[in-house]
């Protein structure tokens, strides 16, 4: 074209031709621009393809997915499953009677008259059955009734049922956590939930707990057996790793099934281990002993006068099993002497006592991942009498979990560690711990605990081979503002193996009764302690505690065998 244009004609037609040329050129430019635009767009689409979404992908949930919850060994405790719900569009059903007949034949639990009423009254939509099993869904789908179809709904299920109830908690109908770890996950905010999620995979990493479901199962079974055997109204138990503060088991009975449709749980079913405060009774003596030993006001060689009841003002402190003599410190522990312990606390003094209780955190509310937590109940006025009685746990109520945490701290070398329901390493635990007593004090306490299991009130928990140590407590319940002689809370706190404590076990029974087998006794040594013994016997091999049999143990075994034989004969 340029060559043609360069020839400048001289005749009179020239201006017209030139005008025509210009128009063609303009059109050419327009077309080139248009084609370039098309080519550009094509290249753009080929090189940077737009990510296809909504139209191709199936339904993407708008709600953040809840992470699965697993125990320390990866056993599934809570998960989301899709469950089908069957519905009908009655306007599309040709023969309602036939449809009703077929549907009730496949799903026998659907009420025929109810279904007929629904299908005749509803215009465009009626639920036939919510949340059916996949088998039922397929069966109904295969009936091929026009107008009957299903939608998938998400539902939170707890495959372990009751076993993890108080730990996992549960969610409401909108999948919002309203108790236990479920609520904790929600309170950590969407950020925490989303951090667990892999958006690309549309799945989420499970939240791993410190709980061991096997230990939990053993604890639940033994405590529910004990409740039946001793006619108790409730019970609870805790197993905790004393070195990391990880809770392996947390049981509170009566419990509930988190899968239950209507979650109208009563106060009786709440988590007693954290949301209630109880007088742990003589178990608290362990704290008093630790205090006196740590302050140096008493040593293992000290002795205390327990000949007469201790009189302070117009109150008398007496012993449950009076020995009426001067007791050495280990004897005060094994006979669980109130007089001796009160004297020990009085030697330290009211201020020192309060300071020590504050140091071990018994003045503050213990807060773990569980939303349910209760504040300790302490004497309002710290008089001399309050110190004397609080020394053996009178008028002193704490969450059982808090009591367990303090005793664990006293036994593990003096490191107070906040208990947790999530995994935690020993280093992390040590880094966040607070030193409450000297290592030497801790060692003395281990000796006292072991001694008490060998010859004291906790002897029924001394499982052969596992070097158990423990302290028992029998507290009278406060009913109508007065201590009741017949309604007791019995508890046991112990740890094993005592030469290097690994796990702490707490067992608590609410109002156990005396039975024929217990010779009319209803104190901890006859109910909470043997229960704890059974639990330890079951969980120690699971937790990898190596049994060590001493010569005395073999003697005991031989005696047991002889007994069995004589029974058979």
């Amino acid at each position: 074209m340029s060559t043609q244009l360069s020839i400048t004609p001289v005749d009179d037609q020239a201006p017209r031709r030139l005008a025509g040329q210009n128009r063609i050129r303009l059109i050419g430019i327009c077309f080139t621009a248009a084609f370039l635009a098309l080519a550009g767009q094509l290249a753009h689409l080929t090189l940077f393809p737009k990510v296809e979404d909504a139209a191709v992908r199936p339904v993407v949930e708008d709600r953040l997915p809840r992470p699965d919850i697993v125990d320390r060994n990866g056993v599934l405790l809570a998960t989301d499953v899709a469950v089908a719900s069957i519905f009908a569009d009655p306007s599309k059903i040709i023969d309602i009677d036939e449809a009703v007949e077929l549907l009730t034949a496949t799903m026998p639990d659907v009420n025929a008259t109810e279904l007929r009423r629904k299908l005749t009254t509803a215009k465009r939509f009626a639920w036939i059955k919510r949340q059916v099993s996949p088998e039922e869904r397929d069966a109904v789908y295969n009936l091929g009734i026009p107008g009957v179809s299903y939608v998938n709904e998400r539902r939170r299920v707890y495959p372990q049922g009751r076993l993890g109830a108080h730990v996992t908690g549960y969610v409401d109908l909108d999948n919002k956590g309203i108790a236990g770890i479920e609520q904790y996950l929600d309170n950590q905010g969407a950020i925490y939930t989303a951090s667990l999620a892999e958006p690309a995979e549309h799945r989420s990493e499970p939240a791993q707990l410190s709980v061991d479901i096997r230990v939990q199962a053993a604890m639940i079974e033994e405590i529910s057996n004990a409740i039946i055997q001793f006619g108790a109204i409730a019970g609870g138990g805790i197993v905790m790793n004393v070195k990391t503060g990880e809770i392996l088991s947390l049981v509170s009975l009566p419990d509930f099934n988190p899968n239950q449709e209507k979650k109208n749980f009563t106060k009786d079913q709440q988590n007693r281990m954290t949301s209630g405060v109880y007088e742990l009774g003589s178990v608290i003596k362990a704290v008093t002993f630790a205090m006196a030993l740590d302050y140096g006001t008493a040593s293992l060689e000290s002795s205390f006068d327990a000949r007469y009841p201790l009189v302070i003002g117009n109150a008398r402190i007496s012993d449950f099993r009076p020995q009426r003599r001067v007791l050495t410190l280990p004897e005060v522990f094994t006979y669980s002497s109130n007089i001796g312990t009160a004297r020990m606390a009085l030697e330290v003094g009211t201020d020192g006592h309060q300071a020590f209780l504050r140091r071990v955190g018994l003045f503050e509310r213990l807060q773990t991942e569980l939303p349910e937590s209760a504040k300790p109940l302490l004497p309002r006025r710290w008089s001399k009498l309050a110190t004397a009685t609080a020394a053996f746990g009178h008028g002193f109520a704490v969450q059982p979990l808090q009591g367990a945490a303090v005793v664990a701290g006293l036994l593990n070398g003096g490191h107070l560690i906040t208990p947790t329901l999530l995994r935690r390493s020993q280093q992390d635990a040590l880094a966040m711990s607070k030193t409450i007593v000297k290592l030497q004090t801790s060692e003395s306490l281990r000796f006292l605990f072991r001694l008490n299991a060998q010859q004291g009130s906790a002897s029924k928990a001394d499982v052969i081979g596992y070097r158990v140590g423990g302290k028992t407590g029998t507290a009278e319940k406060v009913l109508n503002g007065r201590y009741s002689k017949d309604n007791r809370i019995t508890s046991f706190i112990g740890a094993f193996p005592m030469d290097d404590p690994q796990y702490l076990v707490l067992v608590m029974l609410d109002e156990p009764k005396a039975t024929k087998d217990t010779y009319g006794f209803a104190t901890a040594g006859w109910n909470a302690v043997p229960t704890a013994g059974k639990v330890i016997e079951r969980i120690a091999p699971m937790l990898g505690i190596e049994p060590v049999l001493s010569p005395e143990d073999f003697e005991k075994l031989a005696k047991l065998e002889a007994k069995e034989k004589s029974k058979k004969d």
Partner: protein
């Protein structure tokens, strides 16, 4: 010159049009396949979740304990039933109860001998 250029352009147009449409067709097909696979994956993931839940429910420790007690006659493991591997020597009777070699038939021993030769 013009005619040839136009001809070339028309041909190019037709050819490119054909390529574009066939590309789009295969793309659509692939997209459908992706969607189908995705649905399949989702379905399988859902199945996995369901089966995991079922597995967890069936292997509940209390259920296993009940079954073990009922069908296998098992009960709680006692401390004295656990023996360290080093201590096994002391638990083995000094003389084998049956002397296989003396009887002239030691099937396992003969197999070992065979492989050693």
């Amino acid at each position: 010159m013009h005619k040839f250029l136009n001809f070339i352009l028309v041909v190019t147009l037709l050819v490119s049009g054909f390529i574009v449409y066939s590309l789009e067709h295969t793309t659509r097909g692939l997209e459908r396949e992706i969607a189908r696979s995705q649905r399949g994956i989702d379905e399988e993931t859902e199945n996995m979740r369901f089966l995991n839940a079922e597995w967890s429910s069936l292997t509940r420790p209390d259920r296993l304990r009940m079954l073990a007690a009922q069908h296998l006659g098992l009960s709680t493991l006692k401390a004295w039933q656990i023996v360290k591997i080093g201590d096994i020597v002391t638990k083995v009777p000094p003389e084998p109860v049956i002397k296989l070699e003396a009887q002239g038939s030691d099937p396992i021993g003969s197999i070992i001998d065979k492989y050693q030769q």
